[in-house]
Amino acid sequence: MTRVVPDTPQPEASDISVLSDTAFLTDLRRQMVKFATLQLSNGQHAEDAVQEALMGALKNAKSFGGRAALKTWVFAILKNKIADVLRQKQRMVEASSLLHEDEEAEDFSELFDHKGFWQSDEKPATWGNPQNALHQNQFWKVFELCLEALPGNQARVFMMKEFVELDSGEICNTVGITTSNLNVMLHRSRLRLRECLENTWFLKGERA
């Protein structure tokens, strides 16, 4: 697998074609908006962040060897924009949207019995060597679907932690929750994401 290394720009005639490749730009923009909307829970803020990130990157499009490098770069910028917006926008999740925790409490009884042990059909299975999946395009489609299937708040804190790479204190501050709330939400999001990946990818075909 050859990786395009962003810091070795190879200006070529093809650079221009990135800018005129409407299909590529449309697709890129769509992915960015999807990601930003999930993070910011506000369509307008998401559009603004995407707009800025895209403009910034395209101005320098000539320095990129190709679409992959440009995409890596544009997502790095977007990530920083989102972190900025999140830092400015304290307590962006209104109290009301955290009240869904009641419905989410059911999750645990689906997964664990009354003593807190795995229900027999919910026990995590062996995934073998999951790293292989990282090289398969189809896996990323499944991964995206599983991320989108997470309840909004869980998806948001999970992505703040693992994608935007904010630390726990910063997430709690931004969202206005306690560390204990955060740990519960991350625990749930990992249980769900794991289950979704297992059922739709790692055990596909093995368990009818």
């Binding site: 490098a69 807190g116 790293q131 990323w140 991964f143 990992r190």
Partner: protein, 68 residues
């Protein structure tokens, strides 16, 4: 003794903070005896790894387009 709900919670938290010695010990004992939690303990770091690979801009998916 620790149950699976508590064990998975601690395994999840170990991504956010260093566990105490007693937490580590009870977790270790549980995971040794529980295949479900053992598998879970291997999957948690993978989720983080996958998320970071995804964050790098899904460049592998795009690379294939570029090669065409």
């Amino acid at each position: 003794m620790m149950n699976c709900q508590q064990a998975t919670r601690l395994l999840s938290e170990s991504q956010e903070r260093a566990l105490s010695l007693s937490e580590k010990v009870s977790l270790k004992v549980h995971v040794m005896m529980c295949s479900g939690c053992k598998n879970f303990s291997l999957q948690i770091p993978f989720l983080s790894q996958a998320m970071k690979a995804y964050a790098r801009g899904l460049d592998e998916a795009v690379e294939d387009d570029v090669k065409k």
